[in-house]
């Protein structure tokens, strides 16, 4: 029994340490920009600002690199308090249409973004309609940083889920514009931003890949981000963040798993020690019938 108890300690300590270190090695720069990019005049009414097409949405942010960031550096945009997992939202898409285009007439699932002015919309549905449309241009010092925006979507999605001959049609032509527009001459399978966006996030705080910087960033590098702040998160109190992150074998920067491993591991060690002490102090012989119910009962009689 004791051996089993001791074997509860599931993993050697180094594993947990390794975890934490893995997460630590990831260098991350997170910059929230949605609030600061609003001109002072509109600070009290951000929604009016974002809805007003005549105001320039350009905005500049400076990012300082603290630690060496090895290539590839992933550029994410992060949305908080954005429920891409809302039932109405998740259902409002047509996977058939994405693959077959206009040939597919049954797009009732896309409502309320199914058609516009009597004509069908491709890609239909709320998910596509609300496509994220902020854009970022990076410069290091005065030199523009090259951002690779290819291969940011899953290859499986590009090959099998989004049609190669399906072109956007009647998209974003309604009275209410939800987000980004699409070039009607590029097939859906090449609209990688759309593909990334349409892989709906599981959680209300999520990141989506924007592109990759394929150079190392060095400490004390100053990076200027010229961004267009188009996307409306103000109406529902969301937040927009720009994230630069290196990758580790663990994925992104997340300490939780490492901490949890350490917690579970140490509790197991603690429990086994307690059992060991209890065992040394007072042990019950196995299979001793004096402890059995019928014998105990006689005593109490």
């Amino acid at each position: 029994m004791l051996m089993v108890a001791a074997s509860q300690q599931p993993l050697p300590c180094p594993v947990q340490y390794h975890h934490l270190q893995g997460a630590k090695r990831v260098v991350e720069i997170v910059e929230r920009y949605d609030a600061e990019c609003v001109p002072d005049a509109y600070k009290s009414n951000k929604v009016a600002y974002i809805k007003n097409g005549s105001i320039s949405k350009n905005c500049t942010k400076l990012l300082k690199v603290d630690k060496l960031m090895k290539a590839p550096i992933y550029i994410y945009y992060q949305l908080d308090n954005y429920y891409q997992n809302h039932r109405r939202y998740v259902k409002s898409r047509s996977d058939k249409q994405l693959l077959d285009g206009l040939q597919n007439n049954d797009t009732s699932s896309c409502k309320p973004e199914e058609s516009n002015g009597g004509l069908p919309v491709v890609p239909c549905g709320l998910v596509a309609w609300s496509l994220f449309n902020d854009s970022y241009i990076f410069t290091r010092g005065a030199v523009p940083l090259k951002v690779n925006r290819k291969n940011i979507a899953w290859k499986s999605d590009r090959d099998h889920k989004f049609g190669k001959r399906v072109y956007p049609f009647n998209f974003q032509n309604g009275s209410l514009i939800g987000g980004g527009k699409l070039d009607p001459h590029i097939p859906l399978s090449d609209q990688e931003d759309l593909i990334v966006w349409m892989r709906t996030a599981a959680l209300p705080s999520f990141r989506k890949l924007y592109g990759r910087i394929e150079e190392d960033l060095h400490p004390s590098d100053l990076i200027t981000v010229n961004l267009t702040n188009n996307y409306n998160t103000y109406s529902f109190g969301g937040a927009k963040k720009l994230v630069l992150s290196t990758s580790s074998w663990l994925g992104g920067k997340n300490d939780f798993l490492g901490v949890f491993y350490i917690f579970v591991g140490s509790s197991c060690i603690f429990i086994s020690l307690v059992f060991l002490l209890l065992h040394l102090k007072d042990s019950r012989p196995c299979g001793d019938a004096t402890f059995s119910y019928w014998n105990r009962k006689n005593v109490s009689l």
Binding site: K111, S156, A202
Partner: protein, 971 residues
């Protein structure tokens, strides 16, 4: 039916009432003298019968008949009840007084109630709790959804992930929005749909499957196969398997259940010499005694084991003094009875079998015994009998016969022997016989006979004492005169006859004693001992006489000499109440007094006097359906054994109902005859013995088997297993569904309470069908917490079922807490690990699905005791099947989660998550299990350890078990 006339000129009809009260002997019914001569075919018989209303009492009937202007009274001996069989009577004519549903047989059968197992009933309570959980979950979701909608009511029109307004037309209108109230209502309904697996509907199906599997193994059990009747165990009801593990009361029929219903002559004590036949055991091949008469060989139907010494003596005949006594003894056995010999043809035309038919099986056994020793009764008429004595026919005139009655407890016959002497032979119970024996004669013989009787009865044999006296002429004349007078008397004939009999049956010479074994079924005493050790109370309900019941009680070790018997025989309600009160006081004194002495004397061998209650049917008439029931139950619960004799079929059911009503303990009724049907149907579990007495009991039963002793493996082994398995299975099913539902529920909290599921619909549907269902069914059928041997060796382990150890509300809540923890771990570890990441819903959904399935299956694997390859295949196969299903679902391009598993599976975080989920979720289960098993072990755990390590510490304990009171164990 009131008898009018029969084929017998004296108006006697022999009937067998086996279907009514289970007695297989012949009973005599009489047609009234006045109607004998009537032949309804030829003449019109006019009469008027006034009878009581239809009732259930099969031993009573009151009516009178007016015929030819005379009023005759009719009693129970003048009627033939439905269900009786005519024997030895060619025809009988009667008037039906009750027909159809009003017959006593029909009134005594109660309708078959539908049975539902105790566990299932309890489970239904827990299911209601789960339903409340479910409603609570749904309400929480609806309330939160309402709050969310309220807070965002201004944004809803344009919220990118909600967008209430449909702008595709000129005038925007609401899309799928029906107002606040309706939205909440729809949310509630939707959450019911999503969370409905909380209520394990599939559990009912799995339970049925498991029961079928268990039944299969019960049927296949070689230990419950009866070779004699070539009958396997039969599982006739499929929904109460697990009740077999919780039986507290066993109500058993006697005839055909405990006993084989075969009487066998075992030993005799003649003139103070014991012929026990033990020496003769060596000669196993016994040739049946045969007699040749007129070229025909007559052979008794039953072969009786004989004692060679006695056989020799019997053969030699009357030459020696001892031989003379032997001659008289067997002559008494052969003549002093009401047996009718019955010649049966055999395939061999020259051989005839003699079948003795009579009222009492004892008499049959004695007649066969006499035949085996050469005193073959060949013919009986009312005037004479012919006995073949070793080929020499002798004719005896039967001058008078005093029938057995329960006051005298003896019968006598007055024979006119061929040598013109007149002898009276008396046979009866020892208690009454010794009072009419002339004690001045042969004191030593009487003493030794008494000694023999004592030793016989302590062996559980039924004893009878035989005495005789030669009458001289004057005595005979005197008797004859009185006898004729009495038998023709119109008033008080019975009393007069009894008086005559008492006069003649006096100053007897004791000839000897006979001992008859009412042959118990194989293994009955051991079975009863086992059941008693398992703390199961055995009640015997029989239609037999009280003496018979008690003697069977002794021979089956139900009653022991240490026990104090409380006998209740009352004829009125008042006396019944009084005797019950007295009995309760006495029983209290006996049981409580011993506890006091026990405490005072400590370990020095204080004795609790076990109390056995014996109550007869007449008393029960007053007890049942009255306020006395309560008292009887109180008394009975103090007694370790209860014997009920002379009970009618419905009274049996009444007694079962009495116990069932007052305790929550499970009852089991076992019987073989039609008279047990109502009892079998009334009890929680009915077991039918597929014996000689027809199929009615089997048809009404839930389980049927060949012999009583199979009850032990059925209850102690299969019942225990079934109960443990089913209890665990129910809890496990609650757990596995709740884990999944809670994971869904936690996710809903992160989706604006909109019932989105990250786990795709297919997976949530397959979860309880493919992913997790097979292992629980397999384990429910195959897991054995203890081996058969251990269970049979320690019947006390059965107590686990009595204490409801495998399924109780404590366990239920413990499981639910565990469920909560496991679901929290399984949900929140991936959530926090993937917070702020690019994870998409189908990917994390796959992770949750797999985590839940692996968790749930490993949880089961941890609790499996006995692994077989099927168990391995089921558990690991389920996990593999889940992987395959998840992969397949993700390989369909049309699904939103296309290729998700391959993407997430390619990242190490996924695997680390799975690992830590399994560990963290199962550690508490493991720790609690360990603590329980190590520091608070239950009997089963100890027995399992003993089984595993085979250590001998249990040895001392076994002695204690056998005699628990003699040596209270120190803690």
């Amino acid at each position: 039916m009131v008898l009018l006339s029969t084929s017998d000129p004296t108006g006697i009809a022999y009937v067998q009432t086996i279907n009514l009260d289970g007695e297989s002997n012949l009973k005599t019914r009489y047609a009234k003298q006045e109607t004998l001569s009537k032949t309804p075919e030829k003449e019109k018989v006019n009469g008027f019968i006034k009878c009581e209303k239809p009732n259930r009492n099969i031993y009573g009937f009151q009516a009178n008949m007016e015929i030819d202007g005379k009023r005759l009274s009719l009693g129970p001996s003048n009627i033939i009840l439905r269900g009786c069989e005519l024997k030895n009577t060619a025809w009988a004519i009667g008037v039906a007084v009750h027909a159809g549903r009003e017959t006593k047989a029909m009134l005594n059968s109660s309708g078959a109630p539908s049975k539902r197992s105790r566990l299932e009933t309890r489970m239904n309570v827990e299911i209601i709790i789960l339903s409340i959980f479910l409603i609570a979950l749904c309400s929480i979701v609806s309330v939160f959804a309402a709050i969310w909608l309220r807070r965002h009511r201004d944004d809803l029109d344009t919220l990118p992930f909600y967008r209430r307004k449909d702008f595709s037309e000129a005038k925007p209108k609401n899309y799928k929005y029906y107002g606040w109230g309706w939205e909440i209502f729809f949310t509630f309904l939707m959450s019911v749909i999503v969370f409905q697996i909380m209520i394990p509907i599939s559990l009912y199906i799995s339970m049925e499957l498991v029961r079928v599997g268990q039944a299969y193994f019960m049927i296949r059990d070689g230990g419950m196969y009866d070779e004699a009747s070539n009958s396997r165990f039969q599982c006739r009801a499929l929904n109460i398997n697990e009740d077999l593990g919780q039986i507290k009361y066993v109500f058993s029929d006697k005839t055909g259940t405990l006993t084989e219903n075969k009487m066998e002559f075992r030993c005799a004590s003649i003139w103070g010499v014991d012929y026990s036949g033990s020496k003769g055991d060596l000669q196993s091949e016994q040739v049946a005694h045969e007699v040749e008469v007129d070229g025909m060989i007559f052979r008794p139907k039953m072969i009786v084991r004989t004692d060679p010494e006695l056989l020799q003596l019997a053969k030699v005949g009357r030459e020696s003094q001892r031989g003379k006594h032997v001659y008289d003894f067997f002559l008494a056995l052969a003549s002093c009875n009401t047996i009718v010999p019955f010649v049966v043809d055999t395939p061999d035309p020259s051989v005839k079998l003699i079948d003795y038919q009579g009222e009492s099986p004892d008499e049959q056994a004695l007649a066969y015994a006499a035949a085996a020793y050469g005193f073959m009764l060949i013919e009986r008429t009312s005037g004479h009998i012919i006995i073949d004595f070793w080929g020499e026919k002798q004719r005896f005139n039967v001058l008078g016969l005093h029938e057995f009655d329960s006051d005298r407890k003896r019968m006598s016959v007055i024979l006119g022997c061929p040598d013109k002497s007149v002898k009276v032979f008396v046979k009866g119970a020892d208690t009454t016989m010794f009072s009419v024996i002339d004690r001045t004669l042969n004191k030593s013989v009487i003493q030794t006979t008494e000694g023999h009787l004592h030793s016989y009865s302590s062996l559980g044999l039924r004893t009878l004492v035989v005495g005789m006296r030669e009458l001289n002429n004057s005595e005979f004349e005197q008797w004859h005169f009185a006898f004729v007078d009495a038998s023709t008397a119109l008033m008080g004939r019975a009393a007069l006859l009894r008086k005559v009999a008492n006069n003649i049956e006096s100053n007897l010479r004791v000839l000897g004693a006979s001992a008859i074994e009412d042959k118990l079924q194989q293994g009955v005493p051991d079975a009863i001992e086992s059941l008693r050790m398992a703390d199961i109370k055995v009640w015997v309900l029989t239609g037999d006489k009280q003496e018979t019941a008690i003697s069977i009680g002794y021979s089956s070790k139900l009653l022991t000499s240490k026990m104090t018997q409380i006998v209740i025989n009352s004829n009125s309600k008042e006396s019944c109440r009084k005797s019950l009160d007295d009995a309760i006081v006495m029983a209290k004194k006996l049981t409580s007094g011993s506890i006091v002495s026990h405490n005072m004397e400590g370990s020095s061998g204080a004795v609790i006097t076990p109390v056995g209650l014996i109550i007869d049917g007449t008393s029960l008439v007053y007890v049942l359906d009255s306020e006395l029931e309560e008292q009887l139950f109180k008394l009975a619960s103090m007694c370790s054994v209860v014997l009920c004799c002379r009970v009618a079929p419905l009274q049996k059911a009444g007694i079962v109902a009495l116990v069932k009503k007052r305790t929550s303990d499970m009852t089991l009724a076992i019987g073989d005859g039609a008279n047990d049907v109502s009892m079998i149907q009334c009890a929680d579990v009915g077991v039918g013995i597929s014996g000689q007495e027809g199929r009615q009991a089997v048809m009404a039963s839930d389980f049927a088997m060949g012999q009583f002793r199979f009850l032990v493996p059925l209850l102690l082994v299969h019942g225990h297993w079934n109960y443990q398995r089913m209890g665990y299975m129910i809890l496990y099913n609650f757990y596995r569904n709740a884990v999944f539902v809670l994971i869904l529920f936690w996710y809903v909290l992160f989706t604006c309470f909109t019932l989105t599921t990250a786990i795709n619909e297919w997976s949530s549907m397959l979860y309880s069908i493919i992913y997790t269902s097979v292992p629980t069914i397999v384990v429910g059928i195959l897991d054995k917490d203890l081996s058969k041997r251990t269970l049979l060796k320690h019947p006390q382990l059965y107590g686990a079922g009595h204490r409801q150890e495998a399924y109780n509300s404590k366990l239920f809540w413990l499981t639910m807490v565990d469920t909560l923890w496991q679901s929290v771990v399984a949900f929140f570890v991936p959530l926090l690990a993937y917070w702020n990441s690019t994870i998409d819903a189908p990917s994390i959904g796959d992770l949750w699905t797999l985590a839940a399935v692996i968790l749930v299956n490993l949880h089961l694997a941890m609790d499996v005791v006995r692994w077989t390859w099927i168990t391995h295949a089921a558990i690991w196969g389920s996990i593999v099947a889940t992987w395959i299903c998840v992969v397949c679902i993700d390989a369909i391009p049309m699904m939103p989660g296309y290729w998700a598993i391959f993407h997430i599976g390619g990242t190490p975080v996924f695997w680390w998550c799975l690992l830590i989920i399994v560990i963290a979720a199962l550690v508490p289960h493991f720790v609690v299990k360990f603590i329980y098993q190590y520091y608070f072990p239950c009997d089963i755990q100890i027995a399992r350890e003993a089984e595993k390590f085979g250590n001998l510490r249990g040895h001392g304990a076994i002695e204690i078990e056998m005699n628990p009171i003699l040596e209270p164990h120190q803690r």
